[in-house]
């Protein structure tokens, strides 16, 4: 399979030349894809006057972390927004795992009356877009005093992430060999002990995948946060940055600070993606398309 292109006999083009062409196209694509990210980062380290210059400069003429300093103390201060985003994401991961690990185990390994019906009910959330459910959820959260709380937003994010997570985990639990489970049962282990000692270690990659997707979704999610968080001190990172795009300082958008915020928002996502790329891609293959 890896020789797919190398062996391609192209009419009129010698194989050697085709290889250089492919390499050049690959490089050009990489440059185009990376350029916006690089330019944004470079803009975040421009000195204040240069960051606000019109027309903008391509490359910084000086190096300054002033934009990051301004972001650090913007409104409630960057630490507050980072904590809101991080707290929501961790809660969303926790809720998702606590609900879907046992549920996936049950669906894969237990005879439950009406199991198929229950599975369909659980996947209802997959069919109804959460964008359409936000108004009734908001009204419910007003009653439960969950608006403007990290827990409330984490619940919204768990609702979004539940079907995908359940699907991935059910399939993983189904794939655990029966002999492993039987050995544990012969040893007198309860189903709970079997889950902890046999199943969870066996489906570890699926658990990492589920946590990874929940983190990236929650960290980036915008509309749910916009609806649920009205108090400025509860804003997540995307919300405060979106607010900062129109709020003016010194008579215009503070572009340098905005780029600093963009860089800080992107770093965790890119980092976990590069570290856990294998889990990410396998999760996408099994979850998004099947």
């Amino acid at each position: 399979m890896s020789r797919l292109h190398e062996n391609a006999p192209r009419r009129g083009v010698r194989p050697g030349r085709a290889r250089y062409l492919v390499a050049a196209v690959c490089l050009a694509i990489c440059v185009v894809m990376l350029l916006p990210l690089v330019m944004s980062f470079l803009a975040s380290v421009k000195p204040p006057a240069e960051a606000a210059a019109t027309p903008p400069t391509y490359l910084p003429h000086g190096l300054s972390f002033d934009s990051y300093r301004r972001l650090w103390s913007y409104q409630q201060g960057l630490p507050a927004y980072l904590l809101n985003s991080l707290g929501t994401a961790l809660l969303a991961i926790a809720i998702t795992l606590v609900l879907t690990v046992p549920a996936g185990y049950a669906l894969a390994r237990f005879q439950i009356p009406g199991k198929e019906v229950i599975f369909v009910v659980l996947l209802v959330a997959l069919i109804v877009p959460y964008q359409a459910l936000l108004t009734p959820m908001f009204l419910m959260f007003v009653h439960l005093k969950l608006t403007n709380t990290l827990l409330g937003l984490a619940i919204v994010h768990a609702v979004i992430q539940l079907p995908f997570s359940l699907y991935i985990l059910r399939n993983s639990f189904s794939g655990v060999p029966r002999e492993l489970e039987e050995a544990a049962v012969v040893d007198g282990a309860s189903s709970w002990q079997a889950l902890l000692r046999i199943f969870i270690p066996s489906v570890w990659p699926a658990i990492v995948t589920v946590a990874l997707f929940a983190f990236i979704m929650s960290w980036n999610e915008f509309l749910g946060a916009l609806v649920m968080m009205s108090r400025g001190d509860r804003f997540t990172l995307p919300l405060i940055l979106a607010a900062a795009r129109t709020e003016t300082s010194l008579g215009g958008t503070d572009w340098g600070m905005l780029q600093a915020g963009i860089a800080i928002s992107m770093v965790p996502c890119i980092a976990v993606y590069l570290l856990l790329q294998r889990y990410y891609v396998s999760g996408l293959m099994s979850g998004a398309v099947k």
């Binding site: 391609a8 192209r10 690959c26 659980l122 908001f138």
Partner: protein
């Protein structure tokens, strides 16, 4: 007998938390939304039953159609770009050389950053005086005065946003197409090599037909995602000019929250959900056919 009944109860106990969560936070809100859609309700005044009036109102509402048609237009333009572009990228990078693997990683990277954040990034790149797009186009000599990309003309805004979203999500289709292309058995590609087929003959007669199911599924996922577009328009145009670039989800949001027309917003939500439901059913049918 006792053991198996007990085991069923234990299984149900493992399932119960997730089931209760979905009943409380998805099924109940869904029911409430249906109920709301038959009422006139503004949070301040108590709900009043109006039957199908909210739905009738939608069909006579000019902005409902503006939003719906704009969303459809956005979807119809961006979907072929994402599918064809993603597929070409997959053909280019599906074999496992180091440069191709790096290209794949780079093209996929924007998929993991937030749509809100990437929209802010492009909001800057496309800004009239401070953006690098206008600066670069001026330097190359394509334009002589800054173009107002966002929020002034609906078509220009749509075009600019489509470019930015393409950058952000094209890697999604690519990575799934790479998976499908790599899953084609080696014997088949080798057989077509022996037959002396040219590269493009192999692509059109072997590779594309054998990955068609993935193409269909990615198309549906892209269509559903595009019909639910919100973040990019909220951030980059705020619906301007005159709500011409307010998408369907945007219009639901406007009615439910700033305007507080909860019943009407719920009716719009239901119309949206029904559209998505139809597409999801098609998606499930395609999936089932392969499993059967």
């Amino acid at each position: 007998m006792y053991r198996s009944r007990r085991r069923r109860l234990v299984g149900f106990a493992y399932l119960a938390p997730a089931l209760i969560f979905v009943l409380v936070f998805t099924v109940y809100p869904l029911g409430q939304m249906v109920w709301m859609s038959f009422n006139n309700w503004s949070l301040i005044t108590p709900p009043r039953y109006v039957g199908l009036d909210n739905y009738r109102q939608a069909f006579d509402d000019h902005q409902f159609w503006v939003s719906f048609l704009f969303t459809v237009k956005y979807t119809l333009i961006i979907t072929p770009i994402l599918i064809v572009g993603g597929y070409l990228l997959a053909l280019l990078t599906s074999s496992n050389g180091p440069l191709r693997r790096v290209t794949r990683t780079v093209v996929f990277a924007p998929v993991v950053i937030g749509l809100g954040v990437s929209s802010l990034l492009w909001y800057w790149l496309l800004s009239p005086d401070s953006g690098l797009v206008n600066r670069a186009l001026t330097d190359v000599g394509v334009i002589d005065k800054p173009v107002l990309w966002l929020g002034v003309n609906a078509n220009t805004s749509n075009f600019a946003i489509i470019a930015s979203v393409t950058w952000k999500v094209i890697g999604f289709g690519m990575i799934l197409f790479v998976g499908a292309i790599q899953a084609i058995p080696t014997e088949i590609t080798e057989a077509s090599l022996v037959d002396g087929a040219s590269y493009w003959q192999r692509v059109t007669r072997v590779i594309v037909p054998l990955t068609l199911r993935t193409v269909l599924l990615v198309t549906l996922v892209s269509v559903i995602g595009s019909l639910l577009a919100f973040d990019q328009f909220y951030i980059m145009t705020a619906g301007q000019p005159g709500n011409e670039t307010a998408t369907s989800v945007f219009y639901v949001y406007l009615n439910s929250f700033p305007y507080l027309k909860l019943g009407y917003g719920a009716a719009l939500s239901i119309l949206l959900a029904v559209t998505i439901l139809a597409l999801t059913v098609v998606q499930l049918l395609i999936t089932r056919r392969r499993e059967a």
